[in-house]
């Protein structure tokens, strides 16, 4: 579970940062960027509990 949790956490942070980055580079809208931030945030808090001490 720890490895799975850590993997999902890393993915969540990637999504969190990728959202605004993709908006800055052009392909997605500001709203889509904010949804990505929200998805990354939820992903982080759901998964981090499995591995953060």
């Amino acid at each position: 579970m720890k490895v799975l949790g850590a993997t999902i956490s890393v993915l969540a942070l990637v999504i969190l940062i990728a959202g605004p980055l993709l908006h800055a580079l052009g392909p997605i809208s500001a709203d889509a960027g904010q949804y990505a931030i929200l998805a990354g945030t939820i992903g982080w808090f759901v998964s981090a509990g499995f591995w953060v001490k």
């Binding site: 942070l13 969190l16 800055a24 500001a30 931030i37 990354g40 945030t41 982080w44």
Partner: protein
């Protein structure tokens, strides 16, 4: 679990540098960064001042931790409190705790305010302006008191769950500050690296807001250096670095300085610039709406979590500081009272709007004790005097540290009031001054007979 509060940390309990990197990174990416970044913009710093001044100031802070604080911590491996008690006697800890408790209440007030501003957006409350000192609506007071009350109750009941949650949230908070920067830059018109400098000069335009001190390069350097002076020059982090295997682990403070006091301050400043771009007349520094504009609901959550996870330990520490003066007092009650005081402070946004000065005053008040510890460690024995004098002489209160503390602060007050030396620069003369006063007072005050002829 043994916290080694009244004994040196054993060598086999010391730790590697990894833990210190994580600790500093999480401690220094906090609620107040959301105030400091925008307040730099309001203080009229220029782009060069902020980008280079912060590099230099943070480097000086890291070097101070590494070459001033950590070597003493590693040599004695004692908490600040116990080391101070050995030097000045148990009564000096009472004085220190009163000062510390009052200052923690002020800081907790700012943290509660930051946390409460997260609710200003969903509740559509009018935001206080940069020049406001008092609350501007009943709703604002009610929200701050409600948030503060919950924080105080949690702190009073023991906040282990909050500590666990803070550890959980720390990496996410660092990522969110990066997100703020990435999301704000296109809003400000940065489409390529080449645009950055042009936009940076627009964001940090060198024009201070009304009623705010005009910052220069040297203000930025000194603020970055002395913003945490209670912890490095004031030796607060002896308590942390006594666990360090080597003194050079002081370099781990760079993780906190460059993530929190460089990246986070700059990105928080960018949030403020986005707000000013939307409405140049809206100069309010209110973290909730600032974060919501670029990061939506996650931005609000960050403000709430960052404020909460810093306000809770602050109220707890304030309560503990007051309670340690009279151990018979109930810790729960004292913490609740400290929380109530912090709430009363939080409803005045003027404190948060002047947070740059508040942070300086906090450090200045506690900093002289660091100079006393430094002189006691490095100079007293070399000059034929005794270190840890109160412990050796069995004194409840040894006056030289108190004289150094009071006199250096009085001189600071005089420099500020009569000569107009701003609070951002006062540590430069005050720290060595406190050390020299302690040295002279010790020379006059140390009696060989008290130690039975030994020194």
């Amino acid at each position: 679990m043994n916290e080694y509060e009244r004994q040196p940390v054993p060598e086999d309990q010391t730790r590697g540098i990894g833990g210190f990197l994580g600790l500093f990174a999480s401690e220094h990416v906090a609620a107040t960064e959301l105030l400091i970044g925008p307040l730099f913009v309001a203080a009229g710093v220029s782009a060069f001042d902020v980008l280079v001044g912060l590099l230099v100031g943070n480097l000086l802070a890291v070097l101070t931790w590494t070459f001033v604080t950590a070597p003493i911590a590693v040599r004695h491996r004692l908490t600040l409190y116990y080391q101070l008690e050995k030097i000045g006697g148990p009564r000096i800890i009472d004085l220190y705790n009163v000062a510390n408790g009052v200052l923690w209440c002020c800081l907790a007030g700012a943290f509660i305010y930051v946390s409460a501003t997260a609710l200003f957006v969903p509740l559509r409350l009018p935001v206080p302006q940069l020049s406001d000192w008092g609350p501007n609506s009943f709703g604002m007071v009610a929200v701050i008191l409600a948030v503060g009350a919950v924080i105080a109750v949690v702190a009073a009941k023991g906040y282990d769950a909050v500590v666990r949650f803070a550890n959980l949230a720390a990496p996410w908070m660092v990522a969110m500050f990066l997100v703020f920067g990435i999301a704000a830059l296109p809003e400000l018109g940065v489409r390529s690296l080449g645009d950055f400098w042009r936009v940076a000069n627009r964001v940090w335009d060198g024009q201070a807001a009304a009623d705010h001190i005009q910052f220069t390069f040297w203000h930025v350097v000194c603020f970055a250096w002395f913003g945490n002076m209670a912890w490095h020059l004031g030796m607060g982090d002896l308590t942390i670095f006594r666990y360090a295997r080597k003194a050079r682990y002081g370099l781990a403070s760079a993780a906190g300085m460059y993530l929190g006091h460089y990246v986070a301050w700059i990105t928080a400043g960018l949030l403020y610039a986005v707000q000013l771009q939307h409405d140049p007349t809206d100069t309010s520094v209110v973290p909730g709406p600032l974060a919501y504009r670029v990061a939506g609901a996650s931005g609000i959550l960050l403000v709430l979590v960052a404020g909460w996870t810093t306000a809770n330990p602050a109220v707890y520490r304030a309560g503990l500081a007051f309670q340690s003066i009279r151990p018979k007092w109930s810790r729960v009650r004292v913490t609740l009272i400290a929380g109530a005081v912090a709430c009363c402070i939080a409803i005045f946004p003027g404190l948060s709007n002047r947070f740059l000065s508040v942070a300086m005053v906090y450090g200045l008040v506690l900093m002289p004790m660091g100079a006393v510890i430094f002189v006691d460690h490095y100079l007293l024995r070399r000059l034929g005097m005794s270190e840890f004098y109160a412990e050796r002489a069995g004194l409840a209160l040894y006056w030289p540290p108190v004289i150094a503390w009071a006199l250096s602060l009085l001189i600071c007050l005089g420099l500020w009031y009569y000569l107009g030396v701003q609070e951002f620069f006062l540590a430069l003369p005050a720290w060595p001054l406190a050390g020299v006063i302690y040295l002279i007072a010790s020379k006059l005050g140390q009696s060989r007979t008290k130690l039975g002829g030994a020194s």
